[in-house]
């Protein structure tokens, strides 16, 4: 009984880790999104918990602060009955000079099944994945990737638009420092959307076209006729230097206002990965307006993370290793 948009029945999930979107196939991405569809229903029940991951241990290793992503993973773990364990940089030996490898080996000794890691250095999750038997989920590594954010964005788009293929998507803001944008570009182009990016010249990395996206030079040009607009947070803490004269100046040029939004399609949806800087990249009238799906993104994040935890926990480390060796 095939349902429309579902991955084929004989599809097998075989990855032990979710490190980025770049290495996933379109079929793997669809499998995660389809699985998340089923998990969304758990949040609507009187008892929002299933026994599926009973007895599994998940370590949440956050070397960078995070509220949304960490609590989203925590809720997902609790709803699946997994035991979650939190390490955050400020309250553990992570801040006492222990190397990442030593931290990892110590964790390994506690035999976790899955590790969720956020780290300021690109590739940190990949290193853990190579060294540990546990499955590793990248919850953001530097400016590299943030796969579960891109997956929940795609899930939200699919809910509103029915699919991804053929959609026109604009991503606007701090392209250079954003791991969200990299994961989203990979995902959206793999599923057949056309992506346009825009931002201040000082926040645009070179050679963006090689990722298969179009580059626009103004917000107006980027959002013209679009189905989906993603506004990115201006990451003042990641810049080190100001790439534009003032936040007011930024808003004047790149802030999404209701007036500017009229250039997009009539049924456009506006997204933001959060946390928002109101009055910097997005006006409150848009963030709280009828086209905004920002809070839905947060709700969908839990379902998508449940799907990822579920799929990865079914892969035996020995099996994954055997495949790697083959």
């Amino acid at each position: 009984m095939a349902e429309p948009g579902r991955a084929g029945g004989d599809f097998r999930w075989t990855r032990k880790d979710l490190l980025g979107i770049a290495e996933l196939s379109a079929e793997e991405i669809r499998a995660i999104l389809d699985t998340a569809e089923s998990f969304r229903e758990v949040a609507e029940r009187p008892i929002k918990k299933v026994p599926t991951l009973r007895g599994k241990t998940v370590v949440n290793l956050f070397f960078e602060t995070s509220t949304r992503t960490r609590s989203s993973f925590e809720i997902a773990e609790k709803r699946l009955s997994a035991d979650g364990l939190n390490f955050s940089a400020s309250s553990s030996s992570l801040s006492k000079g222990e190397s990442l490898v030593d931290t990892a080996l110590n964790l390994q000794a506690m035999a976790p099944d899955l590790i969720v890691i956020r780290h300021a250095y690109p590739g940190a999750p990949h290193m853990l994945a190579r060294r540990l038997a546990a499955g590793v989920i990248n919850a953001g590594d530097g400016a590299h990737e943030h796969p579960t954010q891109a997956l929940l964005d795609a899930f939200t788009i699919r809910q509103h638009k029915g699919g991804i293929e053929g959609l026109e998507v604009a991503i606007v803001g701090d392209i250079e420092h954003s791991r969200v944008v990299r994961s989203n570009i990979h995902l959206l182009t793999k599923l057949g959307a056309r992506v346009t990016v825009a931002g201040p010249r000082t926040l645009m990395p070179p050679a963006l076209e090689t990722l298969g996206v179009e580059v626009a030079h103004s917000l107006e040009e980027a959002i013209e006729g679009k189905d989906v607009i993603m506004m990115l947070r201006i990451q003042l803490e990641r810049q080190g230097r100001m790439a534009f004269p003032s936040t007011r100046e930024y808003f004047n040029l790149f802030g999404l206002t209701a007036e500017r939004l009229r250039r997009a399609k009539e049924d456009v949806i506006v997204m933001h990965p959060g946390p928002m800087n109101r009055g910097v990249e997005i006006a409150s009238e848009v963030a709280d307006g009828p086209f905004s799906v920002i809070l839905e993104q947060v709700a969908n994040g839990v379902a998508v993370r449940m799907a990822v935890l579920y799929l990865l926990s079914g892969v035996r480390p020995d099996e994954a290793r055997a495949r790697g060796a083959a």
């Binding site: 009984m1 029945g9 599809f11 097998r12 999930w13 075989t14 389809d34 699985t35 569809e37 089923s38 998990f39 969304r40 229903e41 758990v42 029940r45 009187p46 008892i47 918990k49 299933v50 026994p51 599926t52 007895g55 799907a307 579920y310 799929l311 926990s313 079914g314 892969v315 035996r316 099996e319």
Partner: protein, 186 residues
């Protein structure tokens, strides 16, 4: 060649299957005195068309459309840590709250009883039915848990090499019940 399942015998054809489902519908009505509070819940995959057929027979007899829910038990399986990769999860849905209802779980084949154990655990997470009953098209030997059906289409004595297959047009393109046998390919 690995062994494959080959059809051995058809035990119910389309017409007989229909009669069996009609009889079960009658028994369901008799058991709780009509359609008040009744809800049918099909266990994915083949319990779903079975529940729909039961609802259609009940409607033909009583003129009342009984609500039909769908239950996916994947998240409640007891073998998730021993099988890989993870089976595909599908959503469950109920047209009305379960509280106070008489829920008739519908499944195609009752074998080990483990599916029904998982279904009972899943049901109580959605509400508190007044009673839960079990209807199956085929009841075969091989129980691993103390679970029995309230309504049985037919009992099929089988060996462990055999497999009972209930097919519905909606899911399989045909209506019948067959015994399949594990055989080495020549």
């Amino acid at each position: 060649m690995p062994p494959t399942l080959q059809p051995k015998k058809t035990i119910l054809d389309k017409k007989q299957l229909r009669r069996v489902i009609r009889r079960i519908a009658g028994e369901v009505l008799e058991r709780d005195g009509g359609t008040a509070d009744l809800m049918l819940v099909g266990i994915r995959t083949r319990g779903v068309p079975f529940a729909e057929r039961l609802a259609a027979e009940i409607e033909a007899m009583e003129g009342v459309r009984v609500p039909v829910g769908v239950l996916d038990i994947t998240l409640y399986r007891d073998d998730l840590s021993t099988i890989a990769p993870q089976p595909v999860v599908r959503a469950s849905r109920f047209p009305e709250p379960l509280d106070g209802r008489v829920v008739v779980l519908a499944d195609d084949v009752l074998y080990t009883g483990r599916t029904i154990r998982a279904a009972l655990d899943a049901l109580v997470d959605y509400g508190r039915p007044r009673a839960v009953r079990l209807a199956v098209v085929a009841d075969r030997s091989g129980r691993e848990l103390p679970i029995q059906a309230d309504f049985v289409g037919l009992s099929v004595p089988t060996s462990t090499d055999e497999h009972v297959e209930v097919r519905f047009a909606e899911t399989d393109g045909a209506d019948d019940v067959r015994i399949l046998e594990r055989r080495e390919e020549p």
